[in-house]
């Protein structure tokens, strides 16, 4: 029994239609709060973690251990004057951060969070095509970056946007092909050998993922991980920002809360990509007693991935744009093709 059904039952005195709608809204708010708190915790953890690797202490002034630092930062950003460039394209300029943040938030609504104790399944969306929806939403994100970059009429932002677009295009295809390989593998149960439906929904994939797909196709895991680093756009692939070359890339002309939204979107993307990797490749919420503590498994896997991502972020230098595009087209694309063929052969073999 899922959380959605439970809320629906509690509110059944309101009539079927109203209670179902309210249940959806309530659960969306519940997940939004969870995601919002996660973002704040994530930025705090990132700052502490980076500080410790660099032998510093990190935030430690506001509240105990600096726990309230992010809240203070939020108020600072809200209180700041939003300085806008004069020759901006007003609508696009203001829309861009909103697109980024909404797309990130929406993507979280599609994740199969697994079961947690009494609440049951925490997933909001019970669609059969969440995989397609997810990558559809992910492809909205670059639109925000592009709008933000070109609407400000700044040369730094323009170059940053060009880089961001090149990055997104060259890594979209390997990413999608490696996801396709997952769909192929999950179309057939490797326990019974029989065909399975629901391979296009994330929850369906997780349900079939008794052995994590990362073990079956490690190449796909590698490609997907690299693509996700590129999509989330942190070092070594932070070409949209390139902070030592282009000041701050497409976010150069943003200040105040609008910049804050881009920043949160970046961390949201790190979190989301870790979720996706753990769902698609590392078994998601599967494990012993997963009908009771599945969410915990997913959460732990995701957090370990987040820590690995942060370690990559602070230790690797930025790759140059031409080498980066080369990596996408000349190495990852053929490798993802090989991975696809391998997935097909694997499915044929287990049948």
């Amino acid at each position: 029994m899922s959380l959605l059904v439970r809320i629906h039952q509690w509110l059944s005195f309101l009539g079927n239609f109203t209670s179902l709608g309210l249940a959806y809204i309530l659960q969306t708010i519940f997940i939004l709060i969870f995601v919002g708190i996660s973002f704040v915790a994530l930025i705090y953890i990132f700052r502490k973690y980076m500080a410790r690797i660099q032998r510093r202490v990190g935030p430690n002034r506001v509240g105990k251990f600096g726990l309230l630092q992010l809240i203070a930062d939020l108020f600072k950003l809200l209180g700041k004057e939003s300085i806008m460039p004069e020759r901006r394209d007003d609508m696009a300029y203001k829309l861009a951060p909103i697109i980024v943040i909404i797309a990130t938030m929406l993507a979280f609504m599609l994740l199969p969070f697994g079961n947690l104790a009494y609440f049951g399944s925490l997933a909001v969306t019970h669609s059969k095509v969440t995989l397609i929806l997810m990558f559809g939403i992910l492809s909205i994100l670059p639109i925000g970056e592009i709008l933000g970059g070109i609407s400000t009429k700044s040369n730094y932002a323009l170059l940053g946007t060009m880089r961001a677009v090149a990055k997104d295009i060259s890594f979209e295809i390997p990413m999608m092909i490696s996801v396709l390989a997952i769909v192929i593998v999950s179309s057939r149960s490797y326990v019974t050998g029989g065909a399975i439906t629901g391979g296009l929904s994330l929850s369906g994939i997780v349900a079939n993922e008794i052995i994590p797909y990362g073990i079956i196709e490690p190449l796909g895991l590698l490609i997907f991980f690299i693509s996700m680093v590129a999509r989330a756009s942190y070092s070594p692939f932070d070409l949209g920002e390139s902070d030592s070359e282009l000041i701050s890339g497409y976010t150069t002309e943003y200040s105040g809360m609008r910049f804050g939204l881009f920043y949160v979107g970046l961390f949201g993307m790190v979190y989301l990509s870790s979720f996706l990797i753990s769902i698609l490749y590392l078994g998601g919420s599967n494990g012993p007693f997963d009908h009771y503590v599945g969410f915990i498994y997913l959460f732990i896997k995701t957090d370990i991935l987040v820590l690995i991502s942060f370690l990559i972020w602070v230790t690797l230098p930025r790759i140059r744009i031409d080498k980066f595009v080369n990596l996408g087209w000349k190495y990852l694309l053929p490798l993802s093709m090989i991975n696809l063929v391998y997935a097909g052969l694997f499915v044929l073999y287990i049948r």
């Binding site: 410790r52 032998r55 990559i312 230790t315 690797l316």
Partner: protein, 165 residues
């Protein structure tokens, strides 16, 4: 003399991915070491013995020779008239008819006046002073508002907490 020139040995190029992983672990292991930074207001750290900042003045020893104001590279030190008539001074001071105490060696009654806004703590006033009247101390927390960096001779004899600006 013939230069001993040595061509450097090129280090081995790292293996892709594995080299990066090694570097990551190399840096990541500092996660488990203690931070090396100190938190300033709580932990001021050790101040080395020769560390110098705030200038102090021994008015009894000052002979008003103006050497410190001459050598000051930024003209931070100016000489200022000050009738030294406080009680409690022991050396070089005699009782006058009016009952005041005076520094007899300083005939012109001029003492240095330091503007810390421009002082670069070069320590040359301390170096040149013939009677060691002007000296620098470990005192360094002397933050002030913009227009109150100038210390009169009287304030130069006081501790930092007593100087009210």
């Amino acid at each position: 003399m013939v230069a001993t020139v040595k061509e450097i040995k090129m280090p081995k190029k790292p293996v892709p991915v594995i080299g990066s992983l090694k570097g990551m672990l190399n840096m990541g292991k500092y996660m488990f070491t203690k931070p090396v930074t100190t938190q300033y207001p709580e932990n001021k750290g050790e101040i080395p013995e020769r560390f110098r900042f705030r200038i102090f003045l021994v008015p009894e020893a000052c002979v008003g020779c103006t050497l410190c104001s001459k050598i000051c590279p930024n003209h931070s030190i100016k000489m200022e008239h000050w009738d030294l008539d406080r009680t409690g001074l022991e050396n070089n001071v005699v009782q006058t008819a009016r009952g005041d105490r005076k520094n007899l060696q300083n005939k012109r009654n001029i003492y240095p006046d330091v503007n810390f806004g421009t002082c670069t703590v070069c320590r040359q006033c301390e170096e040149i002073c013939p009677t060691d009247a002007i000296y620098l101390t470990h005192e360094f927390e002397s933050a002030r508002t913009r227009n109150s960096f100038t210390y009169s001779p009287e304030e130069l004899t006081m501790q930092e907490e007593d100087v009210i600006k």
